[in-house]
Structures are given as C-alpha cells and as structure tokens.
Symmetry: C2
Subunit: 94 residues, 2 copies
C-alpha cells in the first residue's frame, strides 16, 4: 500500500518532468535567438529592467499558483545564469 | 526592427515561463505528498536508485528535445535540493 501510493506520485512527477524538459528546450531556443539578436544589433547582454520585470512577474504568478515566490526567483536566476553562459559562447563564436 | 524582434521573443519566453511556473507548482504538490507519504511509512528521505533513474531519463529526453543533457541534470539536482529542504521541514513538523 505504501509503495503503490509512492509509485503513483512518482509517475505524475515523471510526467511533469517530461513537460518541463520540453518547455525548457523551447525556452533555450528562444533565448538562443535573443542572444543572436543582441549580438547582431550590438545590444548589451544583460538588461536589468527586463530582469526586474521577470522577477516581479514570476513571483506574482508563483503566489497565485501556490509556489514559493523565493523558489521561483531562485529558478529564474538559475535559468538566467545558463542563458548568460550561452550568450557568452555566442559572442565568443562571432 | 531590432527591438520588435526582441519583444516578440520575450513574449514567447514569458509564455513559457508562465507554463513552467504552473508545472513546478504541480510538481512540488506531488513531491510534498511524497514527503508526507515517506514520513508516514517511515521510508528513507532519499532513494538513490530512483534518482539514478530520473537522471538517466531526463538526460535521454533532453538529448531528444535538443536540450543540453548536462543542464537537465543540473536542473534535476536544483529541484531535488529544494524537495529535500521541503521534506526536512515536513519531518521536523511531525
């Protein structure tokens, strides 16, 4: 009984992870294009107004969704760190 | 022209982030239940066989989706760290 309940929860987690991976792949496709775009038009790699907007928005959405807003902000920073790594690689390759 | 293209990409990123936040909220609801379940049946908080399965699966799915498998593994570790923090809080509260 204990294990059956656990298996069911884990199957849901696995489904959600599959969806998360697909969305992240799509998100990095978009940020990769942003990187190319910024390199092409010589725009600065970071944009603090945009980041402030994203943090505020994700925190608000998280509260509504029942997710810890501090975690959402950590998650965004985790993604941005990876995006900057990609943008630096684009800049180096050009 | 440069800015219009950027705005369109950012609108897509914002849509994807909204979906990611909703899925993460759902994922933590499931892992919260796993934590309660493990506490109730005195199961160990970590399960290395389960984690190894998740890493292998997410890496495979990432390759297929065009996402860096190393990033996918970092992402899973980022989530697991947060889940363990939640489980410890559940264990303390019981």
């Amino acid at each position: 009984m204990a294990v059956a309940g656990l298996d069911e929860l884990r199957a849901s987690i696995d489904n959600l992870d599959a969806a998360l991976i697909r969305l992240l792949a799509e998100r990095f496709k978009a940020t990769q294009k942003v990187g190319l775009h910024k390199a092409k038009y010589k725009l600065p790699p970071t944009d603090s107004a945009r980041e402030a907007y994203q943090i505020r928005r994700l925190r608000d959405m998280s509260s509504e969704a029942g997710l810890d807003p501090d975690f959402a902000e950590k998650f965004l920073n985790f993604l941005i760190k990876e995006v900057i790594r990609h943008h630096e690689a684009i800049a180096r390759s050009q």
